[in-house]
Subunit: 378 residues, 2 copies
DNA sequence: CTACTTTCGCAACGCTGTTGCCGAAGTGCA
DNA sequence: TGCACTTCGGCAACAGCGTTGCGAAAGTAG
């Protein structure tokens, strides 16, 4: 049973009736989302939540009144009245997700189901300065919303819940302030979220690209606790624990690339020696993807052992260039480690993350929707 | 706001009124425990929980009826009626904690406050076989309870809530079944919890020694999210996230010692190469504690970056032998890494874990009490 | 057409935290 | 000493939560 919650937020942890109500509503919405177009019956919702059927009826009635849920046919009878299938109303809400990368911005609009209903891309120079980038991102979002939603007023059935922005480099998720984006020190300390909120007039959430991707995967149905490892121009991780992104006390968690796995190894750009990122990318440069996979596997196995997660997902351009090599290479190291440490249930599976290049933008949109479905923080 | 909950337990996450009630009660009890002998007023409880003063009054009234809480004086007035101070009734419950090590067993009885009210030690050979060890542990617990509580019947104010057992090596916390305790392969698959429950007739909880120690530290007031690193005959970690022990999906989290930090390094007992444990202990053997600390620091920094915790606590015999060397050595590496990665708030503090040799046994006792205070699983 | 099964909403209920109110118990000043 | 004031904390009424009891609705099976 979860009413969100982590970290030093043990204060203000009291649950009153409104909190209970919104928690259960979010839980039901999350299950409805998970059921997708097939929908789910009231009785199954009751089973899955542990609530009584009557409670589910009341909760879903409220959700139907708010226009978030609708009846959608019925199941086959099992000897009595057939169960009515409920389904999320996809158009009841939308969110924009923007993936700001070093050289381009990709924006999507998703509906409540998570389906992409609009997309745009444009080149973008992260080094062009804060004002220019904020303006570019804002315009991108505005134009896309104009195209897709036709400027529906807030509160309408088709309205916009907010904008999620995912970008590389460390940042403070809670305050929405960037630290130094790797390679672009001029961003250090820039309050991106507030700047965009002022400019756009809707709620804005910012997060690391890896966290957005991980959230997107979690929403798309990946297991309860997993790590998403992204190998592109850099190496980072997004951690999902119990269905929610783990961001840590200062929202800096997932610093995976600068994990040292070779004491006194080659110097990394960060100043340390023997970081996975440096070793792994060097191997890729040398044209030795198998070695890169082995190195990545060692770091992944460290992570698996430390957190006892149930799945490792790989993504990023470098992985996409040779998926089988990376999956089998990483998988082999992880499996070998599990065998040696005597994990009884066998090793943790390693797969390529589904979703492809658009995954980060989709996940960014989910940053906005997450609280509605009870996935706000872990 | 937390009603426990992580991992794949998103099912059965519905919260009804009894669940809400027990959650809030546990929350209040936890705050009362944190206040210790000084106690805490109703209004401060209200502020800290976010509940209204009236709700706190009702909750504490129920707790007083159950004999868990009592009024204990009043605070100085601030111009009006002085606040009444509430306090946990220490004798309202007790728990036994047993620390089973390779060569000895140490048992303690703690009260609701966590204060040790009885202690025993005896030599123990973990290799003597399951029956002998179970019998020895059971008798140790029984005799200690007889001494301290005088055989109070269950349900009495002084009665025993259960027995927590902490021991080295991997095990399944949920089922209470041991995996292969390092060096004692004959334990593999032994259902220790069930055997002890049958023998003792009270609830039994088993966990890794590092998890028990970490829980004990969390209860003793250490921050919301930290790592306890134990360097003794082996090297392990207990992770606390948001006040609760993070055990992971298969309760195997905290596998810190076999984190690889030296690819293709020296062979470790586990079969891998370049594990921190092997490198660190080898340095200790060579009489180079500073190098051991540097190695440990690298691994600790990996962990800090990955999870973004707020504190690192060091413990174990090897650390106790040269505490300053380890604290300064680990601290230096962690701080250097934080500086390079541009964490703005400065580095994570590194300290020696308070509690000393008895900490694991005390933490084991807290395993039993944890659910009562809302710390059951993270 | 009848009997049976199963779903699901209405109504009454118990219990939660909340609100409004008032007595209790202090301080501070005349 | 007395009075005004502040603050705490319990009593009572209340709104809202999920739960229970029950019956109408909507199917299947014979």
């Amino acid at each position: 049973m979860t009413v969100s919650g982590t970290a030093g937020r043990r204060a203000h942890a009291g649950v009153n009736l409104p909190a209970l109500r919104s928690h259960n509503a979010a839980l039901v919405l999350d299950l409805l989302r998970g059921a997708g177009a097939e929908g789910i019956s009231r009785l199954e919702l009751a089973e899955r939540t542990g609530l009584t059927p009557q409670a589910v009826s009341k909760i879903t009635a409220r959700l139907r009144e708010r226009g978030l849920v609708a009846e959608a046919g019925r199941q086959a009878s099992t000897g009595g009245k057939p169960r009515t299938v409920l389904r999320l109303v996809p158009d009841a809400g939308h969110a924009v997700g923007v993936h700001v990368d070093r050289d381009e911005a990709r924006a999507v609009v998703v509906d409540l189901d998570g389906a992409v209903v609009g997309e745009r891309r444009r080149p973008l120079d992260l080094g062009a300065g804060a004002d220019a980038v904020v303006e570019a991102v804002a315009r991108e979002a505005e134009e896309l919303v104009g195209e897709v939603l036709g400027g529906c007023p807030p509160g309408s059935a088709e309205s916009l819940a907010g904008v999620g922005v995912a970008l590389p480099g460390p940042l403070d998720h809670r305050s929405g302030v960037l630290h130094r984006v790797t390679g672009f020190p001029e961003w250090d300390g820039f309050p991106l979220r507030d700047a965009l909120t002022r400019r756009l007039g809707v709620p804005v959430v910012v997060d690391k690209d890896t966290n957005a991707a991980a959230l997107g995967l979690a929403v798309a149905g990946e297991g309860g606790s997993f790590a998403y490892l992204h190998l592109g121009t850099g190496l980072g991780a997004g951690l999902v624990i119990g269905g929610s992104v783990h961001r840590g006390v200062r929202t800096g968690a997932g610093e995976f690339g600068h994990q040292v796995i070779q004491l006194d190894g080659p110097v990394c750009g960060c100043g340390n020696r023997g970081c996975v990122e440096a070793l792994c990318l060097a191997a890729v440069e040398r044209g030795e993807p198998a070695e890169a996979a082995r190195v990545l596997g060692a770091a992944a196995a460290n992570l698996v052992g430390l957190l006892d997660i149930e799945l490792v997902l790989l993504g990023g351009r470098t992985v996409a260039a040779a998926p089988e090599v990376f999956v089998s290479g990483v998988s082999a190291v992880v499996a070998a480690r599990a065998r040696r440490e005597g994990m009884p249930d066998g090793a943790v599976p390693v797969r390529v993350a589904p979703g492809g290049e658009r995954g980060v933008a989709e996940g960014a949109a989910q940053l906005v929707l997450a609280p509605m479905f009870g996935r706000g923080d872990g």
